[in-house]
Symmetry: C2
């Protein structure tokens, strides 16, 4: 019974994600759905990315959190429109939450919309929001066994950011092993090891984001 | 509809957790349910705790993971009985999974059973397993805003371990702020900042675990 209910929920979600997708298409906006464990650094990655690209193209951010509007406040300081969704306990964003948020979030002039999901390396992988691509962020502090232990995330994503590489000397994280494990799960995954603190590796990630926006209009 | 289904699921789970609890009571075994984000260090905390206490009392471990038996293999090297549950996608352990595991996991002679939940700072908080207490592990690398952003975990727990304090010099984690935020959510929470690498702060945690076992027989 539980399985059937879940299937119905996912089918209903996919239908609403399709509606969101058509709205994004009409406005020509590229949408990236950022997912990770709590504290892997999604918000900091966003802050650095907004600062790097804000002279180039119109951007916006939808922040998903169970509680608080800390992340929206952080993003708001970077001069881009931001909208906070509080799920009130739910462990992931779904297409309906995003649809409601979009009703009060003008897409005019926007070329790139980031949706930062609830910090959770499991559930968000199953819920399409209407995005062009999912991005998984993994922090070096979490350990290099995480791709195999949380495979759905890496299988569902087009890109994976391995964040906080400035912590590599203080952990036993094996970057080559983590990358290999992620690529075994998803050979088409674009993997970007980087640090939002030192900015090492950041240009590769920016190039991928720029390519996602460009390809939509190709 | 979704809410009603969830309530039915939680009620059914609570009933099964009560059955597990009666089984634990009959065997006089204290049960701790360890929860955290992926990679916060639950397994390493367990390895150090088993090594410290294995001369004192009989212990066992149930490992919950979506996939792989890496964690059970790690625990098995410490000479205690261990059983791996793979949830096959589910984002938390539930009482029924534990009940099935217990059918093949003898509790005779065991005084302390650790159940390591799936790495997820949201969903496991809602699902009782029959444990005496929940313990939340938070890593310094995750950021000091996590208690407020994931309040249910901290509200449901009797203890919180703030792990990886050896990384404090390399992060902007404010230990006093994180502790204050956790205690605002749950004034009865026992908070243990520690490092499983340097073992700083570990004795406080061990004292709490010993107290939990002792109090069951008081």
């Amino acid at each position: 019974m539980e399985v059937k209910v879940l299937r119905n929920i996912l089918e209903a979600n996919d239908a609403l994600a399709g509606e969101n997708r058509r709205l994004f298409d009409r406005h020509g906006v590229t949408v990236l759905n950022l997912m990770s464990s709590p504290g892997a650094g999604k918000t900091t990655l966003l802050e650095r990315t907004l600062d790097a690209l804000k002279g180039e193209l119109g951007m916006g951010v939808i922040e998903g959190d169970i509680a608080t509007r800390y992340d929206a406040d952080r993003i708001g300081r970077h001069g881009v429109p931001v909208l906070q969704i509080n799920t009130g306990g739910a462990c992931h964003l779904d297409a309906n939450m995003v649809r409601h948020a979009l009703a009060e979030f003008p897409l005019e002039g926007m070329r790139l919309l980031f949706i930062e999901n609830v910090g959770n390396l499991v559930c968000p992988a199953d819920f399409a929001l209407g995005e062009d691509a999912k991005v998984t962020v993994l922090s070096v502090a979490e350990g290099d066994d995480k791709p195999e232990k949380y495979p759905a995330m890496f299988q569902a994503s087009a890109a994976a950011v391995i964040n906080k590489i400035d912590l590599l000397p203080y952990t036993d994280f094996n970057l080559a092993a983590a990358t290999r494990r992620a690529l075994e799960l998803n050979p088409r995954l674009a993997v970007f090891p980087l640090s939002c603190r030192t900015m090492e590796g950041f240009e590769g990630w920016l190039g991928w984001v720029r390519g996602m926006v460009r390809d939509r209009f190709a």
